[in-house]
């Protein structure tokens, strides 16, 4: 269960939000909405432990999401609005590097299957610079597919995805929630998620 108590965040002199408390149990999703600049990304970065909140604290299963706790870190998958791909590496190498960095492991067949699942089988050995924005996003989806993290923090996961990609994302999220995973997503696009598992948070 992801809990945040009395969070406040500011950017420079500007107060983005304060007194924000969140409780997302396993198997549930929280969709964060709000206009541009309302603090969606900031909230996700705080939940991921990347940024420090101005006030309040974040816990994952009772453990503080801190800077030096590999247990919570290994449990969190944060996908920012840039997909962390290296142009020089192939799709397959990029995926492997991301999975390994998150503390997981994946052999060649697993990587290949994950890339095939997101429609990149024919392009798995192409350098990432040869991929389109949508295809780069799909590598991020493949990463979600392989990973074993129980908390997903997705920042605008639907950006640059086509209808097919959106369906893939929805299927991944539905499977994640069905396995008692937890999800917090900041998005403008409406995600098709199981209605009984989703709550919405409006910022700003």
């Amino acid at each position: 269960m992801l809990e945040a108590h009395d969070l406040a965040a500011r950017r420079g002199p500007l107060l983005l939000f304060e007194g924000l408390s969140i409780r997302v149990p396993a198997g549930q999703a929280l969709v964060v909405q709000g206009r541009n600049g309302s603090g969606k990304t900031t909230l996700l970065r705080i939940l991921a432990g990347l940024s420090q909140p101005a006030a309040g604290r974040v816990t994952w299963h009772g453990r503080e999401v801190g800077r030096h706790d590999p247990v919570t870190r290994a449990d969190v998958c944060f996908a920012g609005h840039v997909p962390a791909l290296k142009d020089e590496l192939t799709a397959s190498e990029n995926l492997h590097a991301l999975v390994a960095l998150a503390g997981g492991g994946a052999d060649r067949p697993t990587l290949r299957r994950a890339l095939a699942d997101v429609g990149l089988d024919a392009r798995r050995n192409l350098p990432a610079r040869a991929l389109s924005q949508g295809q780069r996003r799909r590598i991020a989806l493949a990463r979600l597919g392989i990973g074993r993290q129980r908390l997903w923090l997705l920042d605008e996961p639907a950006t640059a995805l086509d209808a097919d990609g959106m369906a893939l994302l929805a299927a991944l999220v539905a499977r994640h929630l069905a396995r008692d995973g937890t999800l917090v997503a900041a998005t403008h696009q409406p995600l098709t998620l199981p209605a009984d598992r989703v709550r919405t948070l409006e910022l700003g």
Partner: protein, 259 residues
């Protein structure tokens, strides 16, 4: 403004975890400390960055060429007198190494910062300082080591004898890792600033001065008929200090840049 999730549907997994309590999570922490070790982290960064370096070797070539050209400029600009060149040689080889190192430093973190990899590293279960250390090691292998290996060849222009060439190459071999390590702190500190490249030079060059003094001084000592050992020992000591301190400092600077 605030939304509290009132859902009562707590999963069995979450309940079990809560019931088992702190013992289980402590044990998981111990396991995690073993699983996400320093060496695995260094290996991850080293393999990845070396692979990237090999694929973008044109950029590395530019740096090595820069080194070769700067070193070759001095005999052209000063007199071809043997004694003067022999005096200048080690210093020029070292100063050019500093400049070449500055040329490659901004790349150390910039692309990882821009494409979000640095964020992923910062929230990875592996220690960030070890990941950064692996990056620095890869950076040195790709940019510092070639300079040290090239130095004896370029030193021939300065009529340096075998012993002097050997000392210069060896001092570069110990000294260039310090440049990469100390430079990494500067590179991380200037990540979030505008015009980071020139600021980086201002920040890092003064810190390079002791390395330069002991590095170039080792060959001078030899020329004066003294032993190069004190200079090289001090350089080695500096390397050890930088090895321990720099990855930690650079990792802290990376976190500041990301926050």
């Amino acid at each position: 403004m605030s939304a509290t999730n009132q859902s009562q549907r707590e999963s069995t997994a979450a309940r079990n975890l809560a019931a088992v309590g702190d013992n289980a999570s402590d044990r998981r922490a111990d396991e995690a400390a073993v699983a996400y070790g320093v060496f695995a982290a260094i290996r991850w960064a080293l393999v990845r960055d070396l692979r990237i370096a090999v694929r973008s070797r044109a950029e590395l070539g530019v740096q090595v060429l820069f080194y070769a050209i700067v070193v070759s400029l001095f005999p052209l600009a000063t007199s071809p007198e043997r004694n003067l060149l022999q005096t200048l040689g080690p210093g020029v080889l070292w100063v050019a190494a500093l400049l070449a190192s500055l040329l490659s430093l901004p790349r150390l973190f910039a692309s990882d910062f821009a494409d979000g990899t640095l964020e992923q590293m910062a929230i990875s279960p592996f220690p960030l300082s070890a990941l950064v250390g692996g990056k620095i090691l890869a950076h040195w292998l790709a940019t510092g080591l070639p300079l040290a290996l090239l130095a004896p060849l370029l030193g021939l222009q300065y009529a340096l004898d075998g012993a002097a060439l050997g000392i210069v190459a060896f001092s570069l071999l110990i000294g260039t890792p310090i440049l990469s390590l100390v430079g990494a702190i500067g590179a991380a500190l200037t990540l979030a600033t505008r015009g980071g490249g020139s600021l980086l030079a201002l920040l890092v060059l003064p810190l390079y001065v002791p390395v330069l003094i002991f590095g170039a001084g080792s060959a001078d000592a030899l020329r004066a008929g003294l032993s190069a050992a004190p200079n090289l020992s001090l350089l080695g000591a500096g390397l050890l200090v930088a090895l321990v301190g720099a990855p930690l400092a650079a990792a802290a600077a990376v976190r500041i840049a990301l926050d």
